[in-house]
C-alpha cells in the first residue's frame, strides 16, 4: 500500500506538470492582448515597458518556468512564513522569512498576490458549496439504502424519477426557478447571497440560514441524484450476497443485517465516489455562484476571465486541476484501505 501510494504520488508530479503546461499554452496561444485596454495615445515604447512590468517581455519557456517556481516554491514559502508568524499552531517557532523579497504570482487586475485573493474567496465557496455537498450526501444515503432494500417499490420508482430529474435539470434553471418561486412568489428567502452578512446573534443566524437554503438546495439536488444512484446499485450488489443470508440465518435482526453488514460493505465504492466528486463540485459551483451572486472562487474565475487577468485564470484553473488529481489519489488510496480484497501491489 505504501509503495503504491508513493508510486502514485510520484506519477502525479508529471501529470500536474503536463496539466499546468496545457493551461499555460492555452492561455499563451490565445490571441488576447492584455494591453488592449490601454489608450492609443500611450507611446509604443511606454507600452513596451508596461508589458515588461507585467512580465510579458520574456520568452515563453522562461515565463512558464517562472510561474512554476512562483507557484510551487515561493507560495509554499509564503505559507510557511504565515504559519510561523501568525498562527498558534506553529507560532512558537522563530519567525521565518523565506519568501522575503521574492516575487509571487501577481494578479493583473488588483496588482496583489493571486493566492491572497483566492484565500479570501475560499470560505464563501466552502461554506455554500461544501455544505451543499454534505447535505446532498446526507439526503442521498438514506434514499439509496431504502430504494435498494425495497427494489421496484413505489418509493424506488419515485426515487429513480427524482434522480433522473436531478441529472437532467441544469442548475442554471433550478436556480432561477427557485428564485421565482421562493424569493419572488413567496418571499421566504432572499434571492442574493450576501457574503458580508455577519452572524452575531440568533436573528442574524436565521438570516444566514435563509440565504443559504436556496443555493444549497440547487447544488444538493445534483449531488443527491448521483450519490443515491450509486448507493442504490452498491446496496443491490451486496444484498444478494451469501454473507447476508448467513447473517439472517444466524438470527440477526433485519436492521443489524442491513444497517451494519450490508451498509458497511456497500459504502466502500460510495466513499470513493464521494471523494471523486469533491473537485467537480468546485467547478460546477461556478454556475450556482453566478446565479445567487456568491462571490466565491467560481465567480472569481469568471471575473478574471472577462478582465483578461491571465495569471489569476491560470492559477485558479490549475488549482482546480490540482484538486482533481489530489482527490483521485485520495479515492484510490481510500479504496485500497477500506476494501481488504483490493491489493495494488
Amino acid at each position: 500500500m505504501l509503495t503504491y501510494t508513493i508510486r502514485r504520488l510520484l506519477f502525479s508530479i508529471p501529470t500536474l506538470l503536463f496539466i499546468s503546461l496545457i493551461i499555460f499554452l492555452l492561455l499563451e496561444l490565445a490571441p488576447g492582448d492584455p494591453m488592449a485596454q490601454v489608450p492609443l495615445t500611450v507611446p509604443p515604447d511606454v507600452k513596451q515597458k508596461m508589458r515588461e512590468a507585467l512580465g510579458l517581455g520574456e520568452p515563453l519557456h522562461i515565463r512558464y518556468v517562472k510561474w512554476l517556481i512562483q507557484f510551487f516554491w515561493v507560495e509554499p514559502q509564503v505559507f510557511v512564513d504565515w504559519l510561523t508568524r501568525d498562527t498558534w499552531l506553529l507560532g512558537w517557532l522563530p519567525d521565518t522569512s523565506f519568501s522575503e523579497g521574492k516575487l509571487r504570482v501577481i494578479s493583473w487586475q488588483t496588482r496583489s498576490p493571486v493566492m491572497d485573493i483566492v484565500i479570501q474567496r475560499i470560505p464563501q465557496t466552502l461554506w455554500v458549496v461544501g455544505l451543499a455537498y454534505v447535505v446532498g450526501i446526507l439526503i442521498a444515503l438514506p434514499i439509496g439504502i431504502y430504494s435498494a432494500y425495497r427494489q421496484y417499490s413505489i418509493f424506488d420508482q419515485a426515487g429513480t424519477f427524482v434522480t433522473m430529474i436531478g441529472f437532467s435539470i441544469p442548475p442554471f434553471f433550478t436556480g432561477p426557478l427557485l428564485i421565482v418561486v421562493f424569493a419572488v412568489g413567496l418571499g421566504w428567502f432572499p434571492s442574493i447571497y450576501d457574503t458580508t452578512h455577519v452572524v452575531r446573534d440568533w436573528a442574524s443566524f436565521k438570516i444566514q440560514l435563509q440565504q443559504m437554503i436556496m443555493p444549497v438546495m440547487v447544488l444538493a439536488l445534483q449531488t443527491t441524484a448521483q450519490i443515491s444512484r450509486f448507493m442504490r446499485s452498491s446496496m443491490l450488489d451486496n444484498l444478494n450476497q451469501d454473507y447476508v443470508r448467513t447473517a439472517r440465518a444466524k438470527g440477526l435482526k433485519e436492521s443489524v443485517v442491513v444497517m451494519v453488514h450490508v451498509l458497511r460493505n456497500s459504502m466502500i465504492p460510495v466513499v470513493t465516489v464521494i471523494a471523486l466528486g469533491i473537485p467537480s463540485i468546485f467547478g460546477g459551483a461556478i454556475i450556482t455562484e453566478n446565479v445567487f451572486k456568491v462571490n466565491g472562487v467560481g465567480q472569481l474565475l469568471l471575473t478574471a476571465l472577462f478582465a483578461n487577468d491571465l495569471p489569476m485564470v491560470q492559477t485558479l484553473t490549475f488549482i482546480f486541476a490540482l484538486l482533481i488529481v489530489v482527490f483521485n489519489l485520495i479515492a484510490d488510496i481510500l479504496y485500497g484501505l477500506l476494501d481488504p480484497r483490493i491489493r495494488y501491489d
Binding site: 501529470t15 503536463f18 496539466i19 496545457i22 493551461i23 492555452l26 492561455l27 490565445a30 490571441p31 488576447g32 433522473m164 430529474i165 441529472f167 437532467s168 435539470i169 441544469p170 442554471f172 434553471f173 432561477p176 426557478l177 428564485i179 421565482v180 419572488v184 473537485p279 467547478g283 460546477g284 461556478i286 454556475i287 453566478n290 446565479v291 474565475l301 469568471l302 476571465l305 472577462f306 485564470v313 485558479l316 484553473t317 482546480f320 486541476a321 484538486l323 482533481i324 488529481v325 483521485n328
Partner: protein, 321 residues
C-alpha cells in the same frame, strides 16, 4: 432427458414465427421501457418542431416590434384578465417585441445542432481512441495515460477559458454565428470523449480474445478490416449508450456556457441564451425563464431516458427476459 432423446424426429417443433432480427428484438425490449418510449417520442417531437416549426410559424424571431413588446403568454389570461395578451404572439414577446415562440423554435434549432454535432465529434474521437488503444497493445499504455490526463483536466473552467480567449479570431474569420458554432462544438467535442474511449477500449480488449477474431486473423484479414468488419459492429451498443449521454451533456454544457455569457451572441439565441437573457427581469416575466428552461430540461430528460432504455435493450442478458 431420456424422454427427449426418445422423441421421434418428426415431432421436432417447427418454428412457426418467422425469425426475428437482432434489431427487432432490441426494439421490442426498448418498447417495454415506458420512460424510454416517452423520451423517444418527445425527442422526435422536439426535433420535428425545431426543424419544421419555423416554416409553419413564419414570424421572424429577430423582428423588433416595439408596439407589441412585453406581451404575456396567452394562458396568463386564464387567471389574470388584465394581462397584456395577443393571439399574434401565443407565448408572448420579449422586451424588444421579438416573438418568443419563434425564438424558442430557432433557439432549439441551434441548441440541438450544437448538441448533435458535439456529440458526434466526441463519439468519433472516443471510438477511434478506444478501438486503437484496445486493439494495438503497443499504443494502449500511451493512449490510456493520455485519457487519464485529459480526465483530470477541470473541464468547465477550461471551456470558459477557451471560449473567451478564442472568440474574437473565429468570429472574424467565419462570422459571429458560424464562428461561435464551430468554436463551441469543437471545444465540447474535444473535451468529452474520454468516457466513450474508456468503455470502447474495455469492450475491444474483451472481444479481441474471442474466437471469431482469431478466425478472421487466421484467414489473413488486415487489422483495419478486422476493426471495421468485426469489432465495430460489436461495440456499437456501448457507443450508442454513451452517445445519448453525450448528447445530453453537450446540450447542457452549451446552455451553461450561454448562461455564463460566453456562448452564442444575443441575436443568434440558443435556449441557454434565451434563459440567461431573461433572468434579470424574471420577477415580472417568469415565463421567459421557465419556457426555455423547460425545453432544455425536457429534452435532456428524454435523452437520458432513451439512454436508460437503450442500455437495457442492447444488453442481451436483459433482453431475453
Amino acid at each position: 432427458m431420456t424422454e427427449q432423446t426418445a422423441t421421434p424426429k418428426s415431432f421436432e417443433p417447427v418454428p412457426t414465427a418467422p425469425p426475428r432480427s437482432q434489431w427487432a428484438d432490441v426494439w421490442r425490449q426498448f418498447r417495454r421501457h415506458k420512460g424510454a418510449l416517452f423520451g423517444g417520442g418527445f425527442l422526435v417531437f422536439i426535433t420535428l418542431a425545431v426543424l419544421v416549426g419555423p416554416y409553419l410559424w413564419t414570424v421572424d424571431p429577430q423582428k423588433l416590434n416595439i408596439r407589441f413588446k412585453d406581451i404575456r403568454p396567452i394562458y396568463t389570461a386564464l387567471w389574470d384578465g388584465d394581462a397584456k395578451v395577443n393571439w399574434a404572439h401565443p407565448l408572448g414577446s420579449d422586451n424588444l417585441g421579438r416573438d418568443i415562440l419563434a425564438n424558442l423554435l430557432s433557439g432549439g434549432r441551434a441548441s440541438m445542432a450544437v448538441g448533435w454535432a458535439a456529440m458526434l465529434i466526441s463519439v468519433v474521437i472516443g471510438t477511434v481512441i478506444g478501438v486503437v488503444a484496445g486493439f494495438f497493445k503497443r499504443l494502449d499504455g500511451l493512449f490510456m495515460r493520455f485519457t487519464d490526463l485529459v480526465l483530470s483536466l477541470p473541464i468547465l473552467p477550461l471551456l470558459l477559458v477557451a471560449v473567451t480567449l478564442f472568440r474574437q479570431p473565429l468570429r472574424k474569420n467565419f462570422g459571429p454565428e458560424t464562428g461561435m458554432f464551430i468554436l463551441i462544438v469543437a471545444i465540447i467535442g474535444i473535451t468529452s470523449w474520454m468516457q466513450t474511449a474508456r468503455i470502447v477500449r474495455g469492450e475491444v480488449l474483451a472481444l479481441k480474445e474471442r474466437e471469431f477474431i482469431l478466425a478472421a486473423r487466421s484467414i489473413g484479414t488486415k487489422p483495419f478490416k478486422i476493426i471495421t468488419r468485426h469489432l465495430l459492429p460489436n461495440v456499437l451498443s456501448p457507443i450508442m449508450v454513451s452517445a445519448t449521454l453525450g448528447l445530453a451533456t453537450a446540450i447542457i454544457t452549451e446552455s451553461a456556457l450561454s448562461f455564463l455569457g460566453v456562448g452564442f451572441p444575443s441575436d443568434f439565441p440558443t435556449w441557454g441564451k434565451l434563459l440567461s437573457d431573461a433572468v434579470p427581469r424574471m420577477e415580472e416575466f417568469p415565463e421567459r425563464v421557465v419556457l426555455p428552461g423547460l425545453m432544455i430540461s425536457l429534452t435532456v430528460l428524454s435523452v437520458n431516458y432513451i439512454g436508460d432504455g437503450l442500455r437495457d435493450a442492447l444488453d442481451p442478458r436483459i433482453r431475453g427476459r
